[in-house]
Amino acid sequence: MTTGKFLVRRILQGVVVIWGVVTIMFALRAVSPGDPANLMLAEGASEELIQQVRMEEGLNQPVYVQYLDYVQGMVLGDFGYSWRSNREVEAMVIERIPATVELAVAATIVAIAISIPLGVISATRRNEPADYGATLFSLLGISTPNFWLGLMLILVLGVWAGVFPTGRRPVGLAEAIGTLLQYGYAGDLLTWLKYITLPAITLGTYFTALITRLTRSGMVDELGKPYVTASRAKGLPSVLVRYKHVLRNTMIPIITVLGLQLGTLMGGAVITETVFNWPGLGLRLIDALRIRDWPLMQGIVVFIAIAFVSINIFVDAIYASLDPRVGEE
């Protein structure tokens, strides 16, 4: 199979996955208790008004007709209107993407900045206190639920120490950079940094622990290979061997995992955003769940599914271009 055919197959599989998500979401809406017309209206709305809303929203149609309308809308990019705000779901999803992407990228940066050096130190000082410390950190990082970690960070660094704010996002990164460039004012950027620090640490901790482990095990494997011995025999400084040769080879699987984990971070952000009141897609999803705003819920879940599938296909494409054997398997 050629790389092209491999990618077409992956894209088709992705479409099936997204269709599955769309269908499951519709089914959940159909079987969930409560009349959607009641949910859209205030308590005590008249029967006349409820019937009018049912008719306008097509809720009096058979379920299969509603399903076909729904799928057709999705295909045409029409996700409908939020039941609560009466705004287009697409707009409500799109406006929240920057916050979630900022958080996911910041968490990734935190993870890389901490985990790579920690993994290298751990691998090069095996069975020493630094290695034990890094291993313990990894274990704690993987085992700690991020909602608990977030609450502890808020309590200790937000409320007790007063160093960081406890939540929200008063300014976006793009806006802060724009202000810096236009007015030469860095306060907004500092504000952004201050507000994103705790959520990024919270979301990135699991990721940090995971990459630390991967880095350590990859480095340990590479350090035992003959080319390392040969490099040292040639008289190359050990720092150069570790960081230029060994770490570079170790990074290949790590970068793959990084790409795949970005999709996971989008999902993980739901909890972190809720804990920190960070106005991204995750928080909007929770808000929609609370008030059972089904069109908005569906729009967000489908968007996350599309993002997840797209990132996976993108990583597969890079992989396939780098290693043609992937397409042949």
């Binding site: 208790p33 308590e43 005590g44 008004l49 008063p170 300014v171 201050k194 809720t274 009141n277 808000d287």
Partner: protein, 535 residues
């Protein structure tokens, strides 16, 4: 007064960080400390007031939802036509004077110096159009508010530029409670311009999409995050106390409290009893609370067994220890109740005591009813009212402890409860006859707390079928004399106590956290008015 909150909006001034906040942030982000020179204090901070709600109003239409958090924001932008003082009645505001004509109409005289934020003059036509829109689903831009809030209002008509005639089907006294509380003015032309025909709603998400006559106008709106108001220069009335007011929201009580503790907000609503100590133990902030107009109860639909027996329904009331529940589950933030409405509501009956727990009497009444051995289930929401799920579990457990009744509790989504409450009394149309719900009597009149539940004609959504109770309410709706009407409403509450259509639980308290230097008393009707504050 200001919160130490950062504001990232450059156009509103480089005033985000004061020195203290900067020092703190420098510890956290020392590498960026070189930019500190850009930062400094700004006296305008003293004029900003931040309120953290539990729900963010994600619509520009002030009449889209009956939700307290929404009104907390919208009333500053769109403003009520009357000032309503709980327990006292209505007072002039945009409406300067009003007079019942004795023919089922009341004429409202509007001020002639009121303008909308977009510069349009307020006219009687705007007010009439707004009222008609809320009571008539066919009117083009429907609003769900009218059904209950303006239940007796049948129409409105502009007589001249500043006079509106309001028509109603009940007494002038009842109509006054309704339009006095719910009437707002929307700019008719603006509403039509912003009407999204496809979605049949008034939509928009830009600051200029908001257009009221209130003392504040919207200068920044970020959907789901923040709405920023500034004083409206052409406001007809007194200047409100803060130049700038910011509303944001956090669904979690603990999150709202953390914002208060860290100076990020100045006032937050709906604090849970378990978070009260945290606020009280923090310097500079304090708890303020008031018994609200919101009563919590469990309707029992009397068209199915065993709830068709008055003895059985009374037994359920005697089985529950309301006082104990208030003390333990609500930490004292409530008052046991034995009638549908709270003190301060017109028609509240002072002579009615809550049912006191008496297990022996409850078991006797169950036997008397002939439903010994009955198995029932209580449906309840979670997160809607103050510790609602825990309250429901206690209620069900106490009923279950009766020798001759078995009771389970089912905690679920509020939508299930809402559906049950809407489903009417036809046994073929509902599955849940026993559920827990809360009702805020925000008009300040008993009618709002009883007519939707108990009146029979033209009310398919009622929860109780009883001619005597229904007739008593209908009779009250036709009494013009205020004293006579109040007495009739007290009689309605007496009948409602005796017939026990609900397991009466409590009136919950509204709990707020606020900077201690702010002078403000919370209101029974759960509204937060900036103009009622002093710094």
């Amino acid at each position: 007064m200001c919160s130490k909150r950062d504001n990232g909006n450059m156009p509103h001034g480089i005033n985000r960080l004061d020195r203290r906040a900067f020092i703190k942030s420098g510890v956290a982000a020392g590498t960026l400390a070189t930019v500190a020179g850009c930062l400094g204090e700004d006296p305008e901070d003293e004029e900003e007031f931040v309120i953290t709600l539990s729900q963010f109003p994600d619509t520009i239409d002030p009449l889209d939802h009956i939700t307290g958090d929404y009104f907390d924001v919208y009333d500053h932008i769109y403003e009520p036509l009357f000032d309503f003082e709980p327990g006292e009645g209505i007072f002039p505001r945009v409406v300067e004077d009003w007079e019942a004509q004795g023919d089922g109409t009341t004429e409202l005289s509007l001020r002639d110096d009121v303008v909308f934020h977009n510069g349009d003059d307020l006219t009687a036509e705007d007010v009439a159009w707004t009222i008609n829109r809320t009571i008539d689903p066919e009117f083009g831009v429907p609003s769900p508010i009218g059904t209950f809030g303006l239940g007796s209002i049948t129409g409105a008509e502009a007589l001249d530029e500043t006079t509106v005639s309001v028509q109603y089907s009940a007494s002038a006294g009842l109509a006054q409670f309704e339009f006095g509380n719910y009437a707002r003015a929307i700019d008719k032309q603006w509403a039509i311009d912003n009407h999204d025909a496809e979605n049949d709603a008034i939509t928009g998400a830009d600051p200029e999409d908001f257009n009221g006559t209130g003392p504040y106008e919207v200068v920044d709106f970020t959907s789901g995050e923040e709405i920023v108001l500034e004083r409206f220069d052409d406001y007809w009335g007194d200047e409100p106390p803060f130049e700038r007011v910011v509303f944001n929201a956090d669904n979690e009580s603990s999150g709202r409290v953390a914002s208060l503790e860290t100076d990020e907000t100045d006032l937050t609503i709906n604090i849970l009893p378990e978070d009260v100590d945290t606020v009280e133990n923090t310097d500079g902030i304090e708890i303020r609370n008031v018994t609200s107009f919101r009563t919590i109860f469990c309707p029992m639909k009397n068209t199915v067994a065993p709830f068709d027996s008055q003895e059985f329904r009374q037994a359920m009331n005697y089985a529950v220890d309301n006082e104990g529940i208030v003390e333990t589950v609500l930490s004292g933030f409530g008052e046991p109740r034995g009638q549908p409405v709270s003190p301060g509501i017109n028609g509240f009956n002072d002579d009615i005591e809550p049912y006191a727990q008496d297990v022996g009497q409850a078991e006797s009444l169950v036997e008397e009813s002939g439903y010994g051995g009955a198995e029932i289930e209580l449906q309840a929401p979670q997160g809607r009212y103050l510790n609602d799920a825990q309250v429901a579990e206690q209620v069900a457990d106490q009923i279950d402890q009766l020798e001759n009744v078995s009771c389970d509790v089912n905690i679920g989504d509020f939508g299930i409860v809402s559906d049950a409450n809407q489903a009417g009394v036809d046994p073929d149309e509902f599955e849940i006859p026993f559920y827990m719900i809360g009702w805020g009597v925000i008009t300040g009149d008993t009618d709002y707390g009883v007519q939707g539940f108990f009146t029979i004609p033209d009310n398919p959504n009622r929860t109780f079928d009883d001619e005597e109770l229904s007739d008593a309410i209908l009779e009250s709706q036709q009494i013009d004399d205020p004293d006579e009407r109040r007495e009739q409403l007290e009689e309605v509450n007496r009948i409602a106590h005796e017939k026990a259509p609900f397991v009466y639980l409590h009136t919950q308290e509204s709990i707020y956290g606020i900077r201690e230097e702010i002078q403000w008393e919370p209101r029974e009707d759960e509204t937060v008015y900036i103009w009622g504050m002093e710094n």
